[in-house]
Symmetry: C2
Subunit: 289 residues, 2 copies
DNA sequence: CACTGTCATACCCGGTAGGTATCACTGAGA
DNA sequence: TCTCAGTGATACCTACCGGGTATGACAGTG
């Protein structure tokens, strides 16, 4: 085989080993036995002429080239499965008799709710609108969904989401508010600054994941909106979130505008190389909102 | 095999057929016989549950799903070979004893010459600079080189190059000049407007390829700088190019500033997901120029 | 109505991916 | 020091499947 060709199978195998750093567990995850996996990785290293893994006593670690292949390979594997998924969708293979024209729109669950509603209504009114499947996802999951083809287009909020590697169009800029327990003293204020809410001893700031990891700090780690709402209602934390979140405030919550928080810009984003007519229509509709 | 997995081999095969629209020629290009290729495509269609090609009398054409797979598949295949190439480079597999740390920088041949010189000098002065291999390329080839891993980073000029899908940093903004045959009447002017040079009957404007194709028009199609220079010297054409091109003017050329041409912005650009230390150093150096 | 061009089918073969059994090595305890 | 557990590598076998050749089916053409 050519020296700069990789089979998808080889990528899957290497990524499994590189993530587990253990041939046995990687083989189990791949649903195969350990020896053929060892051999496949050896063949890969031999063909590339590069050592990818350091087999030292008690374990495996990545070489520099291995790090590169792990990152580049993930991107390549995502692109490959994206190709398969989008092709299947384009062919209407989702279900028998399913619509031939469908877009999957990834949205952070309960985020940008009002904007999403307006967008869907406006697009549905278009003459030859495709069917839009709304795919609710966790915080910061949109990038991965676009990359591996589970979604075609997403609503993202800068700077929470990274727009790097996607094309995008600005939709909405909004300020941020602090959401506090209604009974907390700070809830009585007309406005607050970031400094006011970031160092309250009895009310540590909630922490959101950024690119898969949580920043350090005393506050609770947040996975979804509901959990956050409950923790605030219980008086355990305070959150800084976009203005449109007022839509889901509870009775025990109080929203106070923040004077100095960075504005949140909601974008509609899609993979750079996309060029389907349905997607173009959706983007045009969104840009006219 | 899982229904949303594609083997690299299948992608190569399908893309060949989709580009040739002819099984026999595609098989020849792939260095194999036609029957196994036909069978492979059938298996692919069956596994995806999607029809990709329309085999009608006298030829083959793409279905909608086929179009999607052609585009997405090209991106995926590029990403895969990029992974292989960059891994090999990271492991120093380029040559025996070759340096472990090397970046390939794609530059339009003879473009941004002065800037490139400054960049290379400044970077070489850095304490732990990697080796930079300058890869001269044709007009608008940088994008492909970055995508399939033949290059790690490129100098691109907006709006000639499309920065979509890459991260980039602005380096230089410059105006444009018209390069004319020295003996032409227009060469005597102090300044010109785009209108002045775009409709001169005896001096049709040279045409550059944009994304692989040439815009229509009477002027000659330009492939490289030297050819352009010669055609201008012969009095056959006029070109509108960035100010820094004064560096390679011939004696028979005259440069006249254009008052209303869009400015050219040279960027340094790299694949979004890159994160090597060497690349980060080069970008930092470039941003400080 | 032969003839040509094109893709599909039938059938065969060899390479290789994957399985099982086992080895070689190393670190941890008793 | 001597097991013993844990890990990756090796040896060997089998079955599948990717690829080749020969040929068929069909349509358009002179």
């Amino acid at each position: 085989m050519a020296v700069d060709t990789l089979e998808t199978r080889e990528l899957r195998y290497f990524i499994a080993v590189a993530e587990e750093l253990h041939f046995g567990r990687a083989a189990e995850r791949l649903g195969m036995a350990q020896p053929p996996l060892s051999r496949a990785i050896q063949q890969l290293e031999r063909r590339l002429g590069v050592s990818l893994l350091e087999r030292n006593r008690r374990g495996v670690s990545l070489t520099g080239a291995g790090e590169v292949l792990l990152h580049e390979g993930r991107a390549a594997l995502d692109a490959t499965t994206a190709a398969a998924r989008r092709t299947r969708r384009a062919g209407g293979a989702d279900g028998p008799g399913g619509p031939r024209n469908r877009l999957v729109l990834a949205v952070k669950a309960a985020g940008s709710h009002e904007l999403l509603h307006k967008l869907l209504d406006a697009y549905a009114a278009e003459p030859d609108a495709a069917e839009i499947e709304v795919l609710p996802c966790g915080i910061g999951e949109q990038e991965g969904l676009l990359r591996d083809g589970r979604a075609d287009v997403a609503l993202m909020q800068a700077p929470y989401n990274s727009l790097a590697g996607f094309d995008s169009e600005e939709l909405l800029t909004e300020g941020q508010i602090a959401i506090l327990p209604a009974r907390h003293p700070l809830a009585a204020r007309k406005t607050l600054s970031l400094a006011d809410v970031s160092d309250v001893p009895d009310l540590p700031l909630a922490r959101w994941p950024r690119h898969g990891t949580y920043p350090p700090g005393p506050g609770p780690e947040i996975h979804d909106q509901t959990q956050l709402a409950q923790l605030i209602a219980l008086g355990r934390t305070v959150a800084v979130i976009p203005d449109s979140a007022r839509a889901w405030l509870w009775a025990e919550h109080t929203a106070v505008p923040l004077t100095d928080a960075p504005p949140i810009v909601t974008h509609i984003a899609w993979p750079t190389h996309s060029h389907s007519l349905a997607l173009a229509g959706l983007i045009r509709t969104a840009a006219q909102l």
